[in-house]
């Protein structure tokens, strides 16, 4: 079985999520794994992808139509390539979720979203109901179209030497046009790939107080996440939301501060290796999940913890 992975990138670097997706592809494939890099002036991305171990060939489609990752041209490109593949995979990120179902419908295939385990070439595990249940599903479609939950698969390492083949596919004129992007700038590690994530909730009380989370993150080299309530209140940007309908993270250490632990939040972080919760309400549901529960006022405990952590580093 030959597998095609749709790469996520920004025309200069390969997104980390692509590496996890390649690992899933390698598990599924009995034949070659190819990676599609569609972009504009994206040859550096193709070169990076070519070094992924387990990948045989990179398909590079370079065209202005692919510059911003719009769904229409990408889905059209995918279906033009589909007949050579038994499965098409993309990461279950906002990029993959946007493009892949469109391609699936054009192929008349039922997509399998957010796959966390591959049991056989046609049988997969995926979470439903905010991760309250795991469904094992068998696909009867000839071709499989799958988005991959990146936290469930290790990132593919370098070590390969794939060939790069340029594509010259015709693309229909899109009726969607890119206008602009406001990228959240941060020196911190990427939330979904960070080893340590510290997340703040409504308990922080204000945007100013949320700076305490910055301090904590500084001492740990951590990425900053947030609950929906914290994002809605404007303490943190929308792309920091962790949960069922935000980002899924599984770091070595997750510290939840002033977060009650609604099921929708837990869905996004419960596979973290070590979970710490700081909350003044001893009944908060987050404590049912935490490895280390600190019942107390965050405004008292957080500065103390930060001092200990920076002392330990200095």
């Amino acid at each position: 079985m030959a597998v095609l992975v749709l790469a996520e990138h920004d025309n200069s670097v390969l997104a980390a999520a692509t590496r996890n997706t390649v690992t899933a592809a390698a598990q599924l494939a009995t034949g070659p794994v190819h990676v599609l890099v569609a972009g504009q002036a994206a040859s550096a991305v193709a070169a990076e992808a070519a070094r992924l171990s387990g990948v045989e060939k990179i398909l590079l489609a370079d065209d202005a139509a692919y510059a911003y990752g719009l769904a229409e041209p990408l889905a059209a490109l995918l279906i033009s390539l589909a007949e050579n593949y038994d499965a098409i995979l993309a990461p279950a990120t906002t990029f993959g979720k946007n493009v892949l179902p469109r391609a699936a419908a054009l192929l008349d295939v039922a997509q399998i979203s957010d796959v966390t385990a591959i049991l056989s070439p046609d049988t997969f595990v995926r979470p439903i109901y905010a991760g309250n249940a795991l469904a094992t599903v068998q696909s009867t479609d000839k071709r499989k179209v799958i988005t991959v939950r990146t936290t469930a698969f290790a990132p593919a390492a370098d070590g390969g030497a794939a060939i790069i083949e340029s594509l010259s596919a015709a693309i229909p004129v899109p009726r969607s046009q890119f206008v602009g992007r406001e990228v959240t700038r941060s020196e911190r590690p990427d939330l979904t790939a960070a080893r340590v994530v510290v997340s703040g909730g409504r308990g922080l009380g204000s945007k100013e107080n949320f700076l305490l989370m910055e301090k904590l993150a500084d001492t740990l080299g951590a990425a900053i996440g947030a609950s929906r309530a914290a994002v809605d209140a404007g303490y943190a940007p929308n792309d920091a939301q962790v949960g069922q309908t935000g980002k899924i993270v599984a770091p070595d250490l997750y510290i939840a501060v002033g977060i009650s632990g609604a099921i929708q939040h837990l869905a996004g972080m419960k596979d973290s290796k070590v979970i710490v919760a700081i909350n003044k309400d001893e009944e908060a549901p987050i404590f049912q999940l935490a490895d280390y529960s600190l019942v107390g006022d965050l405004f008292v405990e957080l500065p103390k913890l930060c001092a200990l952590l920076s002392g330990a580093q200095g």
Binding site: A71, E72, A75, T94, F95, K97, N98, L100, P101, R102, A105, L106, D108, A110, Q111, S113, P127, Y129, N132, A133, L134, T136, V137, Q138, T140, R175, S176, Q177, F178, V179, G180, R181, E182, V183, T192, R228, V231, D232, P237, N238, D239, K247, L253, I263, K273, V274, I275, V276, F287, L289, D291, Y292, L294, V295, G296, E301, K304, L305, L308, A312
Partner: protein
């Protein structure tokens, strides 16, 4: 401009969902159902477009059992003009839902379809993108802002790295994210009025759509439980545990 809004009846987001002991699915007996929260947002946006004069009619569509009529009545009470139920007791997958919605969109000549980004039961996040594909429409998914200008939809999208704005030629498809708007509560007079608004019931056969599932659910199980944690007295003890016991700092 007519707008189609798809509303799904799902287990209420406050319900603690339990897996059936026989692994056949989750417990649905004596459980509260509501409109999928993202669909409330979709409906609110459509009603606002009508109130602003950008749209002429809002049609709410649901695919599901007879009880989904209640969901449609709530949609009518929130401001939809009429409703269509495609009634079935089968579990309908996103691809089939998209095909049914496409048939309705064509029949009704709608120019805008607004769906939720995700149904909180199957967590698929597919149907809107699939509907756009089947209609060959441009798509604006995960919208946190929407405006209609000169035959175009200007959509701000929540993406992993921040926000993105795109411009779509109508007809177009939108899926909603959480921060697009805050849905209104239906007032009592509007709930009464909704009882008189038209609600049409159709079958998939009348729409000529095959909804045979492509996926077979072999089993549904509970996720593995985490082992119980410990309480720490203060920041100092937490620091010590993280350093010497968990060894993560």
């Amino acid at each position: 401009m007519k707008i189609l809004v798809a509303v799904k009846r799902v287990i209420d987001y406050n319900v603690r969902v339990r897996v059936r002991a026989d692994g056949s699915g989750v417990e649905t007996a004596n459980v509260k159902f509501s409109m999928n929260p993202f669909d409330e947002i979709a409906l609110e946006e459509a009603v606002r477009l009508k109130e602003s004069g950008a749209a002429t009619e809002v049609i709410a569509v649901s695919i599901g059992p007879v009880q989904a009529q209640e969901t449609l009545r709530s949609a009518l009470a929130m401001g939809a003009d009429r409703a269509i139920l495609i009634q079935t007791d089968e579990a309908v997958e996103p691809l089939a839902v998209a095909k049914l919605l496409a048939a309705v969109a064509r029949r009704e000549s709608v120019e805008l379809a607004i769906l939720g980004k995700q149904a909180i039961d199957d967590d698929a996040n597919q149907t809107g993108q699939m509907l756009a594909a089947l209609l060959d429409w441009p798509q604006g998914t995960f919208a946190s802002k929407l405006s209609i200008e000169n035959g175009h939809a200007i959509v701000t999208r929540e993406i992993d790295g921040g926000l993105e704005t795109i411009r779509l030629a109508l007809p177009a498809l939108i899926t909603t994210d959480l921060r697009l708007n805050t849905p209104r509560y239906a007032s009592l007079p509007n709930i009464m009025k909704a009882k008189k608004k038209p609600l049409e019931v159709l079958t998939q056969a009348e729409l000529g759509v095959d909804i045979t599932p492509r996926l077979v659910t072999l089993k549904v199980e509970e996720p593995p439980k985490r082992k119980a944690g410990v309480k720490v007295a203060d920041a100092a003890q937490l620091f010590d545990k993280l350093k010497h016991e968990a060894k993560v700092i």
